[in-house]
Symmetry: C2
Subunit: 452 residues, 2 copies
């Protein structure tokens, strides 16, 4: 049983946060493209960033800022240009963005963190940014989360948002409980033409946590969420997860692991997992969410490694798209994950269907298993971005517009009926999960630009 | 300049080898399904096998045989059933296959190596095998390579075969040269429904080489060929490369590295690379071969790792299919390969088009670059295997039949016009190559079975 409840409000659900999202003119389409999250007071800040050797200017900027000072007041995010592979000019643009916002907020530029998403090799449109920032700050509101969530997306078909609330003891060992909230927004649907890279997630929390512990919690939560999803295995130049904790819940500071810290970390992990699953489900051309559960390894890391290999296998993904209960591909993916196990112990379940036990295939109702796969495919509209594509448009914005049109057809994104692949490889106590999506014609369609 | 010439004859081009391929009735389709390669005398044998934790019975069988004795007279290969995930019965079937052949050849079963390809979870049809083996042995011929090459394929659209000849000094330091030959056949086109797994390659050589050195040469050649191709990143349960060297060229035994050994290893590597490229080009739904060349790393291994990551990127592969000179995806893939480099040093070329230098995008003729990508797509027929698919047929044989029909339309497989992606990441001396193919609609089509 989860120790928390879902609430509304996204990143502005926790106390002491405001957010905004506006159209600054960075995207040619006139869609929202500039987002801001501000904490009323300086918050503890933690971050997890792309491991790629090719990094956007904002990633280097944030790493340096957080190394110097693990605190922040604001996160500024632009969509349209990735500001990656833009050299020293890109670094200068990032610095200027922070200075402009700092002036408008009347705070030090050191308290500002940055994120960008869009086309690799393109500088941020600084003129639009300069004139947009005052408007952005003027739009800040305690109900601004949805606007911010809408301004960070590119080709996403849905905005991604969540907020959870739990209670923390008012004083050490005390019986009185006070509410604590964590909210989050995210963007990402794999990588998409032309280089609309990047997974971004911003998390806010009103608990008081020590900087070192908050970073540890975030890193572990990222491993169990954003680092456990795969759309196509491609890591972007701009991937960033930033989390603020501002203590405005007025609960006692959590400075070491213990019952309250575990409670908070579990809720942080749940927020990250929700956003991660939403990204996986929104994978390009995907028709369903896939959850792989692995047990029986020596440790959790090994289990997660097997789970990710299965979730990332093109063969498994295309079999699921074809509603084909193809255990052989699952077994083959498990076998090549780089984790030693006795193949005689291998067990594979698809939903409630036991397909393989002790490495021996079992008889099962193939039609029923296929029907199980079929029910997981919810009525996401078929993506037809390429039909509206214009090969001379290098901004990726045409696809963004097409995505925007599709968005209006999606009322809710269902994350509660994934295809569940459960694999056991032995008697160890390690467990791990990973999430992904199926591989459809539309993935290829979206990612193969027709210049002819 | 290569130090060898191409000759005809495949695995029977080297002296002292015979081969055969027949229809034994293992595949329901009546297509050839049983192959045999025999050396007149006991040959030195080396092997490289799947690293998967889930292995076919034949893989365990060969590993044990070669550990006990690095010599062999024959390689028996069946197509149709993978004999993987078949438990102790599968082990028994493998042993019986070797014993049956040994009796027919009148040799010890210890001199027989085995390979299987086909459906995971299915036992070899032993009745068909038993009645087929006498016929197979009776068909052995010094021109039997093509028959063998045709009997090991499953959904491949072309058979894969090569033979090269060079000369080796007649005596140590002697001026008289004698011809030495290496031949090879292979199968593989990625993995395919339902679990038509497996890359197989069999190499014959008539040089005399010491066992330890032959294994070393083969392992290195495998790293530069079969381990440097990627179709979909999925490693099979049955992947096997077996190489025999029988000394029938009557050249002096090569027992340590030196000029003659290097010459032989270079030719062995060329044979393996030809077969590996042929497999990559025959990837499911592929329209072109992609060669990635990486330079400037600290060591060769790092270069190969970057090359493989680029060649395996779904985003790069679908961009190539779309004839889109998308350097951003190439940069992103290079960046996430796990090899540290200074991103400022990154340079990317596509054919003759320099796209990125010092991590800065350059102006280039986009239409011409797209035309370059287009010319690499030769006129392989479009694969339409699924149209003929029957969801109740779990043998994969229906697709094998469809593939057979297509084969007749392919006169030659062009390997001489790959799309070349050249990436430099610094000033190091490391170099490496990898090969792959593009990702097309047909990949998804072939791999997504429609059970509905």
């Amino acid at each position: 049983m989860a120790d928390w409840q879902e609430i509304t409000g996204g990143v502005t659900a926790p106390k002491g946060y405001r957010a905004a999202g506006i159209t600054a003119g960075l995207k040619p389409s006139g869609l929202p493209d500039l987002a801001l999250i501000v904490s009323d007071i300086e918050a503890i800040a933690a971050g997890v960033f792309t491991t790629s050797q090719v990094k956007a200017a904002c990633v280097d900027y944030c790493r340096q800022r957080l190394q110097a000072k693990q605190g922040a007041r604001a996160i500024l995010c632009n969509a349209g240009q990735a500001n990656a592979a833009t050299g020293s000019q890109g670094v200068h643009d990032a610095d200027e963005s922070a200075e402009l916002l700092a002036k408008e907020l009347n705070i030090s530029p050191e308290l500002i963190l940055l994120a960008s998403t869009g086309v690799i090799g393109q500088r941020i449109k600084m003129d639009a940014l300069r004139s947009g920032i005052p408007k952005l700050v003027a739009s800040l509101s305690e109900t601004g989360s949805d606007a911010a969530a809408g301004a960070i997306i590119t080709t996403d078909l849905v905005t991604k948002s969540i907020a959870l609330e739990t209670t923390i003891s008012d004083a050490s060992g005390g019986l009185r409980q006070r509410p604590v909230r964590i909210g989050g927004i995210a963007k990402g649907s794999g990588m998409i033409h032309p280089n609309m890279a990047t997974m971004l997630a911003f998390v806010t929390c009103d608990a008081a946590v020590s900087p070192h512990l908050w970073q540890q919690m975030l890193s572990r939560a990222a491993d169990k969420s954003f680092n456990s999803i795969t759309v196509d295995g491609d890591t972007s130049t701009n991937d960033s997860l930033i989390a603020l904790a501002n203590g405005q819940s007025r609960t006692p500071a959590i400075t070491e692991m213990g019952a309250e810290a575990e409670k908070l970390e579990a809720m942080l992990t749940a927020v990250c997992q929700h956003l991660a699953k939403a990204i996986a489900r929104d994978g390009e051309g995907a028709t369903c969410l896939i959850e792989v559960q692995v047990t029986g390894t020596h440790d959790d890391l090994s289990a997660r490694q097997i789970a990710k290999t299965i979730a990332g296998s093109s063969l498994v993904k295309s079999a699921i798209f074809g509603r084909d209960p193809n255990w052989g591909r699952i077994a083959a993916a498990a076998g090549r994950a780089g984790v030693p196990f006795e193949q005689d112990n291998l067990q594979i379940k698809l939903g409630d269907f036991l397909l393989l036990e002790n490495s021996q295939p079992l008889q099962f109702d193939r039609a029923a298993a296929s029907a199980y796969l079929k029910q997981a495919a919810t009525d996401y509209p078929v993506v037809d971005l390429v039909a509206t594509n214009n090969s001379n448009d290098l901004s990726g914005d045409v696809q963004g517009q097409a995505a925007a049109r599709l968005r209006s057809n999606i009322k809710t994104q269902r994350l509660d009926n994934p295809v569940i692949i459960a694999v056991s490889v032995g008697n160890g106590h390690g467990t791990g999960k990973a999430w992904g999506c199926d591989l459809s014609y539309d993935y290829v369609k979206i990612n193969a630009e027709y210049t002819t």
